[in-house]
Amino acid sequence: MSNEVTENGVSRRTVLKGAALGGLGLVGGGTLLSSCGSDEATGPVTFTARTNDETGLKIAQALADAYKAETGIDVTMQGSGDTNAFQDGISQYLQGTPDDVFQWMAGFRTNFRADQGLLADLSDNISNLGDQMPEGFVSGATNPSDGKQYIIPTTWYPWGLHYRKSTMIELGLDPENIQTWDDFMKLLEGTQKKGLIGYAMGDKGGWEAMGTFSIINTRMNGYDYHIDLLNGRAKWTDQATIDVFNQFAMLIPYMNKNFLDISWDGMRDLLLQKKCGAMMMGSWWANDFLAKSQEDYDDLWIVPFPEINPEFGRDSIDAPVDGVSVASNGSNVEGGKAFAEWIGSEAGMLAAQAAGDTSLYANSRLDTSGYDAFNKQKLAVIGEAKNVMNFLDRDCRNDFAGTIVGPAIQNFLKAPKDVNKIVDGMQEAWDALPPLE
């Protein structure tokens, strides 16, 4: 959760430039080999993919096959049946008879289960990976309560301002050169004047607008304050928090009016159909632009959210990290750990990529030379950031994020004048939460 690592920015940029760390590569390879030779890791391993869609299962199966080819250990892969049901029922899954390894998400969702003893400690495996695992990702995967890691990061995606290059050129605007909030407001105004939606918003699900809230909070008050706020060390009723809401309110006049009726896919459609200027979202749906046409895909672009407070610049970003965890109730924990480590290693990444995985990988050996312009831009967007957030619903306890913050932001969007009442309610709800143990 607290992944404030200054060197991180450097390492990300190194990744971005695709600079191969040749000398260090040898060291990493050595540790990888030695870890594979550990004696406990034998016997068949079971593996649950978090998703159940065709691409996801194909990639997961490719990992299983490649591992078998390399080590001779059998891996049985299965889909989760339904992604959301799997995520919601993870506690039961882990208390029952879970598979040894499963795909999961970093942040609270991992740390909470780790504290309950349901996940195996993967710290040794992370250190075996050595320089292959950039420090930013390691600290992002670290459980703050005991300083150990229970997930091996594999892939991630950034949250940023998405727009169409052609639309902005037509309007004579340049989002890439927005320096200040005033410039940003001018951009929104300019878009709206031309009859388009300035800032597309869809918050039907209650979580979509969290992205905007988090980024404004980190831009105004910094990453530390944001994480403190989400973990009860700062208050929702603080003036600093209220200021964030008031800043957020400045965007509302530029939003589409039906923001509570549409979800993220509604926002995507606004952008697809050239009805809006900018939208703040994670970039997981770019393939839909490609499904429409190559031209539309080439038109899509992403930039970081603009600076508000020069003290913090653009030093934070939401970039949820996915990875693999090992269930402590699994039947082959040691074998599971070795497989999880292998998935996080260069060999695992290459196997997934060979199966058609276009995700951005955490592994530092990521070869970006084959990346298209949009994917390179995604790397550039995150390369600028020093602090990586896992998104609000993973940075904070689940019984607060979904049930309190989501509806509160929805209420705020409907009636921004009630901000004082809303933050009072949020703070009350936080204070009323039972302790986690």
């Binding site: 869609d53 049946g81 029952g96 598979d99 459609d269 997981w284 393939n287 839909d288 499904a291 429409k292």
Partner: protein, 294 residues
Amino acid sequence: MSGIVQDKKYRDRQKRKDFFITVFIAIFAFIWMVPLLWTFFTSLRPYSDVIQNGVFSKPSSIGIQNYINAYDRMEIWEYLSNSFIVAIPAVVLTLFFGSLMAFVVTRYSFKFNLYLLLLFTAGNLLPVQLVYAPLFKMYIWIGELFGNRNLLYDSFIGLILVHVALQMGFATFVMSSYMKTIPKEISESALLDGASVFRHYWNVILPLLRPPLAALSVLMTTWIYNEFFWAIVLIKSDSKRPITSALGRLQGEFVTDFNLLAAGAIMAALPTLIIFFILKRQFVSGLTLGSTKG
């Protein structure tokens, strides 16, 4: 109606009434059909078409490609057989236990008859999500007692038992209502001839229960077949999940091709539709069973 003298004025009034009722029913039937027809319509269009032109647009092309793709991806036969491995024993057991229960509460008078029946009916009203967590713990606990966590959890047996337990209340309720319409004299003559309790149930009452048994078996097969909740929370292995889970294969983590999903949903719904059309009469009679008495 037949005993009433029907003059012309009355007939006209009746005709007008019938006309309005028909229009009314037609409107509501249409409202009910729209989502189904829309799903069918969607299933015939390619995803790229919807992305390009929006959901409410004239389709650029129509075809069954979605059905072919969905069939390829769903591994439909494996999941379908899982569905029936669960549904058939569950329905048979539910009807057996339900009829036993109904037999006892209607044919014999104990002090607690009414309360027993109430308990079963009230149990029906509990939302299943409420009992999920305790049930899960119980399954694991019983499994550990026998040294095998997967005795009930992640096994067909466990899933069948859940369905039996949850559907039995309704089965008991319907069959006891029906049994009350069977004349007491039949039971009395059976007892007079010296039939044991089981013989009384098996040879005398059960054959008379054919209509509610037929109706309930159709209804329950459909319900259990369509059930998804227990299948996803109590079954860990994807290879043991029923057909409803196969639909999950057509969904993406973030982005779902709804046209493909629509095709898959229609294919998954086909068996229930077939069952419905074959046994339509039992289905309809099942809805009104026992409604005149009890």
